[in-house]
Structures are given as C-alpha cells and as structure tokens.
C-alpha cells in the first residue's frame, strides 16, 4: 500500500515546477505564428528546415500513436489549422510541430 507524506508531495510538486522551468529555459518563449502567417502564400508545398522533421514524420511520431488519420480531404485548410491547434493542446505539441503538421495536412487535402 502506497502512502504519500506531505514532504513527498512538496518534493513532487517542486520537481514538476523545476521541469517546467527547464522546459521554458530550453525552448525559449517565441512564437513562429507571425513568421508562418507572413510566409503564407510563398509556396503551396510544405517546406522543412534543414535537419528538421517534416510534417508527415511528425504526424507519424505524435498523432499515429493514438489514432488513425482521418481522410485529409474532409477538412479545408482553415479547418485543419483549427484541428491541429486543438490537437496541440491534447497531445502537447510544440508550436513548430503544430505548423509542420498543419502544412502536411493542408498539402494533402
């Protein structure tokens, strides 16, 4: 039988806060949404920065772990943007992963 003391609770909470702080320190806090919006229209095909995973691979790594891919033609470009934004909350995607997966799905519909 597991029994947790208040001291252990505090340690667990402290570890969680430290991990979150480390996350923000590692990742910084900038958004690629502005760049993405200004670049919209520059190309209709997904582009991937050198050394980075493409949207298809990111989809396979993050989304396929839980579910199959709904038919991509079911949704418009704007709807895919909304859906992947929703999945970013559910699946804890980064902003960059959200943008790449969105491009992949928009290019597939």
């Amino acid at each position: 039988m597991l029994r947790i003391t208040n001291k252990q609770t505090r340690w667990a909470a402290a570890a969680m806060v430290a991990a979150i702080a480390a996350s923000l320190a590692l990742g910084g806090c900038s958004s690629g949404k502005e760049q993405s919006a200004s670049a919209a229209g520059s190309t209709t095909r997904p582009t991937v920065a050198s050394g980075k995973k493409g949207g298809a691979q990111l989809w396979a790594d993050n989304c396929a772990r839980c579910h199959n891919l709904p038919p991509s033609e079911r949704y418009s470009d704007d709807q895919w943007r909304t859906i992947v934004h929703h999945m970013r909350l559910r699946a804890d995607l980064t902003g960059e992963e959200e943008r790449e997966i969105t491009k992949f799905l928009q290019a597939s519909n």
Binding site: M1, L2, R3, I4, T9, A12, A13, A15, M16, V17, A19, I20, A22, S23, L24, L26, G27, G28, C29, S30, S31, G32, K33, S36, A37, A40, G41, S42, T43, T44, G51, A60, D61, N62, A64, R65, C66, H67, N68, L69, P70, P71, Y75, S76, D78, Q79, R81, T82, I83, H85, H86, R88, L89, R90, A91, D92, T94, G95, E96, E97
Partner: protein
C-alpha cells in the same frame, strides 16, 4: 536511207514527248528528264541559297546557345510565382468569407450492446459533438458535450464536457481556462473517444466510480519543448475546483466525486503532469493532483492523487504489424475522517483513511503489413485491470478484470469492436460480460 532513219527517229521522239506530256509529273526533288534549259539554277542563285541556309543555321545555333545558358529552374520559378499568385488570390477570397472557415464540428459517437452476467442485456447509443473555433492563430475555443440515453429510461442525458478558451503565449507555452480535460494520466486526454479506444468500455480506474478526474473547471498552462532531435518534454499545470469528498451518500462514503463541477470549499486543487518522449512513438508520464476535498462544515480532508502512464506503438517486422502498448496506474489517498458520525445514514460512524489504487495494462496487435486487406483491418486486443478501494467503506471493492477482443476497422475512423470480459469482484458477484460496439468519428 538516211531520210527514212531521220523520219523514224523523229516519230519516235514525238511519241516519247507525247507520252511524257501525259505522264505524272516527277517529284520536285528529282531532276526531270524533260527539264527545259531555262529551269537550271544558276551559280549565283545557288550561292544565295547557301548563304540563306548559313544564316538560318547561325540563328538556330544562337537560339540553342541561349537555351543552354538559361537557369534550369526558370520554369520552376515561373510555376512557383503562379502558385504564389493563386495563393494570394485564395487568401483574398478567404478574407471575405463569413468567418465560419475556422469553425469545425467534429467529435465522436457510438452504438453498443452489453450483456453482463446477472443483469438484462441492453443496447445503448451516444454522441459527443465537439465544436472548435480558432478566431485567430493564437486563440482556440473548444466546446463539447455528451448526449446519452439514461439507463433508467427517463430520457436523455446532456453533459457539458468541454468549454474552454486558450491562448498561445509562445511556441512552448499555452494558457487557458474553463471546463477542460484534466491532464491526469492519458486516458481522458487521449484515448477515451470510441473511435480511438480499442475496447467498448472504459478501464475501471477511468470509468464511473473510478479514481481519476475527467473534466475540471479552472485555469491551466501547458506546453512542450524538444530535447535533441528525437526526444521531447511536455508539461501541464492547472488550478481547478477539484474533486469533492462524498459524505452524505451512504453507498459511496469516503470516495471522491469527480462529476460535480462546483467546489464545496474555498481551497482549490492544484496539479500537473510531466511527460517525456525518449523516442518517437513512446511516452512516459507522471501526474499529480492535490486538493482539500471536504465540504464546508466537515473536518478537513486532503486528497493526493498520483498516476504514471506509458504508451508505445512500435512497428514489428517479425510479426508484419504494429503493436500498441498502453499502461496507466493511479493512486488515490485521502486523509483519515469519520463519516456518518451521528449514524443518521444508517452505516456509521465509520472512521477510515482511503488508500485506493488501480490501473490497466493493455496490448493490441494489428497486422498492418500483410497483403490481405481483411486481415490488415483486424486488431486483436487484450487488457488487464485492477481496482482496489477500501473494503471498510460502503463503496469499497476489489475488482480484477481481463478483457479479450477483436476489432475490425471499417474505415480509419470507424471501428467495430467485440470483447469478452472475465471479471472477479469482492464483494458482489463476478460481472463477466459480452460487449459489442461500433465507434465512429463525427
């Protein structure tokens, strides 16, 4: 003699000339046997033709030379420019649409059949529409509700399950508030829609009467950051109303009520989850929630909920398919308290601390790489579960369940599920069951 010979030769020449006059003309490229002396090309004309040919050859060489020196991507650049213009035109059209392009109505539904030992079999059905709206790139509004039939035939249940708004602060941080799916473990956040869950029912620990919260009202912050090329760290923190301690229902004394959204005291529950993805397709997580759960007027009772979760989905060539492995375990501890101290509920006084735990381990296999399409759409599923709550409580139970089943994927978002459950309960009779369900995405 000479005169006769000359006359015969003249007649023969006349016949030949006459025959030539009635014959088909010779091809222009062939020299004609009857060409008159004036048809011959003069030397000057021949030289002029040669000069013209030389000038044309020079022009052709210049054109070939020019094409050879053009950049190879010129055609691609022209196509890209055309794509860009089309996209700008599309964006311009989109700007004048009536604001509904960013609205999505999705969700899920199910039709099921359940036959449990010692109870009447029944069909059931439910829908869970999900409404999403992203008015700007950084803002998302979510709303969802469950529509289901009441088991006592008294009508339809409507439960609001999501009503929240969130704002992207940056690539690694989102804040929000409202009624949201609590990131406690992974089941409610990821796996419970019927077209995602591999089984027709919820695991005991995440179902009705389980140990884990589903949706809560409050505020949250969450995000993720890449660690190297293949690893990722995720985090979630929240402050919510939290669960309520049951103190007035004699059948559930000492358990936690996760369905009532209103708080019974002034303290709020705090919690969070840390997730780590060491490699793609694998995630490990630890969740924590701490709350004062007693109603005002009752002695102070704190609850500490913890959970660990794991999921991994490898493709295995040796078995020509994909494995889907998931496991979650929850511990729920509440302080010592005395319930029904006056005996008014007919069961007290009862004094106990509640130490409960439970979880599930599941393994599924789908032969995704075989050539036969029927076999490729089948999935074999198995799950082991345990739920232990204090037997001193009227709601206490020790239950162990094995579930085995076969799913058939009609489409990527429609699945027909069959399962058989082998159940052992204490107290109460075992509840072996046959379950069928068609789960689908809206």
């Amino acid at each position: 003699m000479n005169k006769r010979l000359f006359a015969a030769a003249s007649a023969a020449i006349s016949v030949l000339v006459g025959a030539a006059a009635f014959a088909d003309p010779a091809p222009a490229t062939q020299p004609s046997a009857s060409m008159a002396p004036g048809d011959y090309v003069s030397r000057a004309e021949y030289e002029r033709v040669l000069q013209n040919q030389a000038a044309m050859q020079k022009q052709l060489d210049q054109l070939n030379n020019q094409r050879a020196h053009d950049p190879p991507g010129n055609d691609q650049a022209a196509n890209d420019e055309l794509d860009k213009e089309m996209q700008q035109l599309k964006d311009a059209v989109d700007r004048y649409r009536p604001g509904l392009e960013s609205v999505v109505i999705a969700g899920d539904g199910e039709v099921g059949y359940t036959r449990v030992n010692h109870t009447d079999s029944t069909f059931d059905a439910g829908l869970s529409p999900l409404i999403l709206w992203s008015p700007t790139d950084r803002i998302l509004i979510e709303g969802a509700f469950d529509l289901g039939l009441r088991s006592d035939n008294s009508g339809t249940d409507i439960d609001l399950t999501l009503a929240d708004i969130s704002y992207e602060v940056c690539d690694h941080f989102i804040i929000g508030g409202g009624l949201f799916a609590v990131p406690f473990g992974q089941y409610h956040n990821h796996f419970d829609p019927p077209w995602i869950n591999k089984f027709p029912d919820d695991p005991l620990v995440f179902g009705d009467g389980g140990l884990a919260p589903g949706s809560e009202v409050g505020v949250f912050g969450r995000g993720a950051v890449a660690v190297g090329d293949d690893s990722k760290l995720t985090y979630d923190v929240y402050v919510v109303n939290g669960p309520n301690l049951v103190t007035t229902d004699a059948t559930a004394l000492g358990s936690l009520n996760f369905t009532d959204s209103a708080d019974l005291n002034d303290d709020k529950a705090v919690g969070g989850r840390i997730g780590f993805l060491p490699v793609p397709n694998m995630e490990l997580g630890y969740s924590l929630m701490f709350a004062r759960v007693n109603p005002d007027g009752f002695e102070n009772v704190n609850a500490l909920l913890q959970a660990v979760d794991f999921n991994y989905r490898p493709k295995v060539d040796a078995i020509e398919g994909t494995l889907d492995l998931r496991a979650e375990w929850v511990w729920s501890n509440t302080d010592m308290a005395t319930y029904d101290s006056t005996g008014g509920l007919g069961v007290g006084p009862l004094t106990f601390a509640s130490y409960s735990n439970g979880g599930y381990v599941q393994a599924c296999y789908r032969p995704t790489r075989v050539s036969n399409s029927f076999l490729r759409n089948l999935e074999l599923v198995s799950r082991f579960e345990l739920l232990q709550t204090p037997l001193v409580s009227p709601a206490g139970v020790h239950e162990q369940r094995w579930t085995f089943g076969v799913d058939y994927w009609v489409t990527p978002t429609v699945v027909f599920k069959t399962a058989y459950e082998i159940d052992h309960r204490n107290p109460g009779p075992d509840q072996n069951a046959i379950l069928l369900q068609l789960g689908f995405q809206l």
